[in-house]
Amino acid sequence: MTVCCTIYVCYPAEDLILQNSATLDKALAWSIANRFSLSRQFAIVAVAVFVVGLVRGLFITELVPWLFFIPVIIASALLLSRDAGIFASVLATIVAGFTIGNSDHAFWMTGPQWAGSILFLLVVLGLAVLVGELRYTFTRNRGLTETNAETNILLGEREAFLASVLASSTDCIKVLDLDGRLTFMSEGGQKVMEVSDFNAISGCPWPIFWNGAGNVQAEAAVKAAREGRSSSFIARASTMGGTEKWWDVAVSPILGADSQPKQILSVSRDITASRYNEEQHRQLSRIVETTTDFVGMADLDGVVYFLNDAALNMVGLSRERLGGVHVTDFFPPDDASQVEKEVLPAVAEKGHWIGELSFRHFVTGQLIPVLYNVFPVTDTDGKLVGYGTVTRDFTERKNAEARQRLLNDELSHRLKNVLSVVQSVASQTLRQSQDLASANTALMSRLVALGEAASVLTANEWSSAGIRQLVRTVLGHHADIGDRIIIDGPELVLHPQAAMAFALALHELATNAAKYGALSNETGKVRLTWSAGEADDGNGPRLKLLWEEVGGPPVQPPSRRGFGSTMIERSLRAYFKGEAKLEYRAEGLRFEIDCPLEAAGSLES
């Protein structure tokens, strides 16, 4: 407030001075603007001097004769030119001398008059020169002022331009001192950096705004600029709003008049979007390059111009050999014509085609089943420019399908064979039974025994059955294993057919023991033992298996041999390709097998 008042008080006085100077200024300016030729100047001077001389001669004879001429001389030198001033001085001296002298004197004037004249001339000459110089200085000064004003206008325009450039630029333009501290940030820069108050960060060391490796790079850039070198780097930094962005930064020294760095200019451009696009593009490229799917592109003529590594590997092509390869070259003749006549037109028309075809290996000629998936490749206007494909190798899938078919066939085979066995067991049971009720009971339990053998076999993919598990499973129904039935023998694996027959045989033996033998009372025991040892004849190891009943009621040979005994002896003899002997000894039933081990199975490996 006080400052304002002071200015207000001072203002009228200053204005007055300026007005006074302005009058002189205007006259001088006018004289400079309207220059007269030297002859006209001299004429004006001559007229003025003679007028002054006349006035002085007529009216003022008593006073110092030269005094009246001084204003004319000053005015001439100031408003016309130095030369006009000199001319006025000389002319004034002559006119003054003429008006003061008379013919009484031998030399027109008295001695003192001559001395005064000469002195006057010297003084006014000096004055004319001085005023002329003043005029010249004024002229030059005026020119300088004009140039200065022009320069100022230019500078103003330039500054306005630069300011608008700085403000409108989305680059973040900063000026740092030589220690790397922020001293200036452009308006646009503050916007992109989300700076609400530059004062809050002014003077902060600029490198601290950079994260991780960027911090080190920023420090290095400041150091380089301090040493007079420009540098640039790309790094991440968060805006004041906390958004992390990628920046492309150029850092350069601002040199002073002595060509030494005085400040540092740092221009950062937000490249997050392009960086993101680049990153996304890189990731997509990586997907294309690392997928095991065949990825390829061809132009409208069907000439292939891109294949990923998986594609090259799949069909045995090398990048060098890719040139000029046509889409149809990838297929055997039939599929090739389908691709040309059906697939590509369908893609151009409907935008997509997918189906199972076969590729042909370029080197081996081997067919590769594929799921061929073709789509149009379009330019940014959506115009079709080629074809793209992501094709899956279906070899594994086809193999899996084949394996599945094989498995189904195998399963069907087993099922039918088991049904055939069931058919035979049922047929034999009915054939040997005296009545339907006993046939029913026998058949049910026999089918259960077959089922048990089947489940043991299924656990081993129908390839073999462990003898111990088979024995425990089948005999477990009849008595406690380890108590009434004692088992002893090495683990063996039996062939599927042998396992089925053995399970049935065990079932028959146990059923018989429970009905008539050792398991029919409370005390009898069954001992089932087997061994697999080397035979004396050198034809490989033999399996010896013994079913021995003790402690049962006295045994009586049956009057009629039914399925049980027939099954036991006859089929085991056949399956085990050895001896199978059933003895109805009075002290207990005894069943013995003696066969080559390999006919029945093998020692567990």
Partner: protein, 126 residues
């Protein structure tokens, strides 16, 4: 039965490695009045055929262990004993016609022995 026959149709050879099946079929054909021979594999079958030239009907399974499977055995018999009635049976698959020897019949397991018997007698009558 009781009709004139060009050769002895009452001898049959049953070849199957599944003994339970083989014995049951043997019992069935015996009950039907046939003289039955049985073999667990092709080698046994060939030995029996060589020993008994009265056999004119062979029923063989396809899948069998040994040097020859049932199909090869059937071809062998067709070549060696052309008039033999050949019946090939399997639970495995449909045998393609061109895989089968001429004048032979493929039967899928399991089958009804009664229908098989009827069929054999029809062939024997022609």
């Amino acid at each position: 039965m009781g009709q004139s026959k060009p050769f002895n149709t009452h001898s049959i050879l049953i070849v199957d490695d599944e003994a339970i099946l083989r014995f049951d079929l043997a019992d069935f054909f015996m009950d039907a009045g046939y003289h039955v021979y049985d073999a667990a594999d092709a080698d046994e079958a060939i030995a029996i055929l060589e020993a008994h030239d009265s056999i004119r009907i062979v029923l063989t399974d396809v899948q069998m262990p040994g040097s020859m499977d049932g199909l090869k055995l059937a071809h062998y018999i067709r070549d060696r004993y052309p008039p033999t009635v050949l019946l090939v049976t399997s639970g495995m698959r449909k045998i393609e016609l061109d895989e089968m020897p001429e004048n032979s019949l493929f039967i899928t397991k399991p089958f009804d022995p009664n229908r098989l018997l009827k069929h054999i007698e029809e062939i024997a009558r022609t």
